[in-house]
Amino acid sequence: MIFDEAFDVVVIGGGHAGCEAASAAARLGMNTALVAINLDLIGQMSCNPAIGGIAKGHLVREIDALGGIMGRVIDRTGIQFRLLNRSRGPAVQSPRAQADRSLYRREMRRTLEATPNLHLRQGMVIDLLVHGGSIRGVEMQDTRKIGCKAVVVATGTFLNGLVHTGRRTHSAGRAGEPASVELADSLKRLGFPIGRLKTGTPPRLDGRTIDWQAFEPQPPDKKPVAFSFSTESIEQPQIDCYIGYTTNELHQTIRDNLHESPLYSGKIKGIGPRYCPSIEDKVVKFADKDRHQLFLEPEGHETNEVYLNGFSTSLPAELQLELVRMIPGLEESQIIRPGYAIEYDFVDPRSLRPDLQTASIEGLFLAGQINGTTGYEEAACQGLIAGINSAMFVQRRESFRLKREEAYIGVLTDDLITHGVDEPYRMFTSRAEYRLALRHDNADRRLEPYGRELGLIGDSDWERFNGKRDRIARIRSTLDKTRLTRSDPAYAALSAALRCDLGDSVTLSQVAQRPGVSAEMIQQFLPKSADEKGSLSDLESALADSLYSGYIDGQTATIRRLHQHDGLRIPSDLQFGAIDGLSREMVERLERARPLTFGHARRIPGLTPAALSQLLVYLGLRTQAA
């Protein structure tokens, strides 16, 4: 095969997954090409101009700790930072930021262009060149053939993308961008199990036509919490977002026009997410609610566009305008871009290995929405993992993977390859059984050593991290050793502030387990430090460690006891139907899931303990007989 160009790694797609993959592979020394249909739209946010949120913010910080780029890019382009769940425990707090959409794109492109070994190429990939069970290269629409040793497919919603607005549909990967049809066929021909998902997006409004007074402002945090562990401070000027509501009249109008909705007329085949549903879904499913919440999110300092969050829709464009004008404050508003729904192909992620490489073709990796996830952060972390592993593959190094108890990224990849997806997969904290251990603020302590070992964390970052790790360890030691007794003058004030008796004698780490403890209360007991802001944040981390440590240990013991057989391997050729005593339904579930360990089997939905016991006995007896 003659190639026009050759690289080590080719990344297809310049979205959030593609950018992470390309950046990581390049920085790991791979000669990398990022191929995108339109290079001006690298890093484009298709939908909500925001990064982070509950659980998603955790993902971004984990990406940053491993050496990924999303965190740095949003820190430089975010215009409204808020830490969510401030009133709750640190384990469920998560950062979120609205972004200046065009600034984010430009900053992402700038970051990639400054990355050595990384080459941008514009064009559409129409075929994957496979030979002897391995990937050899890609073929472009303009007839070029690019050779490589590994490919990361990060095509987002572009595969056989079909946009629906009212009764009209047209082929597109995103509004105004062509769909990737031939590549979708290529994947089908290669035998991958393909499904169909859908997602939607709301209209964008002209900010000049909005009556802002009618809305409740939602201000940014006074002290923004950054995503990247390397960010010293957030410099950009911040903005407010605004909260509004729909009305009953609006709901009724939607109900009267449901036949115009492609979702309800049955035109859309793909399955959408149950969270973040279209406004049509909300009105139908929750008919008794007389108003639904909406958010007005300005898209940047230098544009009039405003994103109407919570109003995802595929109703006809003219109807959208009528509906939007029923919202108090939007009576005079104009729509710059109408909302729409998009259907697209995805590949069943159970055909992937834990390193996101396909089981059937060597060197071929899939990352992002193509695997059935939704969300920029979910895509980005897969891109990072795939990018790292494409380099590991080329260098014949051991592949990199994270466990469920180590990171949300571990939970995500494990869920995908074990269970597949029934609907677009979004991360939630409740998906992580070790939620208490996976905090956003300790992502660096959990993962930065891996990033360093891989080669993605530079010297100055590593030095900063080590300093922080040592400081926190010292603080923890002080908390453990500092004891207060009733006679201490500070005791009374502390006890009063926490509104409880602390016992005759108590260590500070014990105090940390009380509800309502803040770093400010404890700071007085620690030696003064030059960097007060940094030391407060270190103290917060140390206190959170103390707060949760007992619970984490207890939970780990429980899970270990209940799940002690998780590591038991299931032979890949095992005939589940041959196990006596399993009902047909259980056999079907097992065959569909094809678990490779008992731990996987245990998590198959609908599998009864009796069936699991039967499986366990069968496996135990097989090992005995062997």
Binding site: L84, G89, P277, K282, N309, H419, T558, R603, A610, V617
Partner: protein, 453 residues
Amino acid sequence: MDTIVALATPSGRSAIGLVRLSGSNSLAITRLLIADQTFQPRPANVVRRNIRNLSNGQAIDQPLLTYYEAPNSFTGEDVVEISCHGSPLILRAVIDSVLSVGARLAGPGEFTLRALNHGKMNLSQAEAIRDLINAQTDAAAQQAVRQLNGELSNRLHPIKEALLNLIVLLESAVEFVEDDLPLIQRKHIEEKVEHLIAQVDRLASTFESGHFLRDGLRVAIVGPPNAGKSTIFNRLLMFDRAIVTDIAGTTRDTLSETLNIGGVPVVLTDTAGLREDSANLAESIGLERTKQAMADADLLLVVLDGSVPLTATEWEILRLSSDYRRVVAVNKLDLPQFRNELADSNNDRGRVIEVSAKSEDGLGRLREALVEPFHSFDTSDAGLLITDARHYDLLCRTRTELESACSLLNQGASEELVLNGLHNGLRFLGAITGETTAQDVLSQIFATFCIGK
């Protein structure tokens, strides 16, 4: 798979001893034992044959043989049961001979394991079927059958659902903080958790009675010599004799028998012993025996001689046993000088029954008194009992987790800590009934709340 052999009846002298073989060589081995290669028994039929000691050719015994052909046997394999006279020497010789021609000694529970592997039962059924096999009584059998029919799961299901709903409420508060959701009323949730704790507790507490149905109620007969312990023992035995099985923990110098009293399997132990010592030592021996019996027994049957005034020994025995579950039988009602000195005493812990072992007067009431706490299980609408220690343990752990969640709610702790306890509780319940996955929780959230950003 190997052919295994084991003694199926308890060791020690007894009228009958059963040696059981399971595996593809069972019949072949049997043919060697009886020196008849043409032996082709009808399955599930009893025949009598001579068996020989294969090491020296001598006749050992004339046992009854029963052959079960796979898969219609307990284990699902070929099974041969050899019913010999219960002499340990005979049984030893039989087993040695079997071992010498290619079988091996079964490991603990191995017959059951094979039954599982051949699909003769699944594990939770095994828990129930084992109980059924071991059940001495109808009531015990009924409980086993209920579990077989999934009644435990049914009973736990509403508890699980309620717990799941609480989890859903709290998770939605945590996960969807930006959505327009109703405010969580913590006090309300706390009450609900307390309600769940009560339900779990109620179910767990049935284990106290429930496990007696499965493991047997250990009743020890204590009292001074000549009060008539042995006579009462024998009388009760004649009334209520049941199949004898191997009961762990019985000591050598006591007599134990298993009875069925009103549906409850009772392991009755006579502490009289095989030797009676002379009068001066009798008292101390009586006290010693009593103390030991108290340690091992679930219920004490204190037998007093009603024909003579209570001795210091008897008062001592009564005092020692006053904190225990006990029934007092004042014996020798048939004699004219009988007097029940305890008739007026305010004894709320024990029950006092006047009996005559000789004439059998009052024995019926004595039987009832022994099993009175479990008496309701005679009737068919007896409630579900937890009979299995594993289930009991899981329920207790569930309760502990719920209690910790409740206490955290009370202290005002953040939701993720409360959820930690609730999720742990759900895990423990799931080990009995089936796991709840994160997906189940999410599905419930989306079905309940409009999540929309």
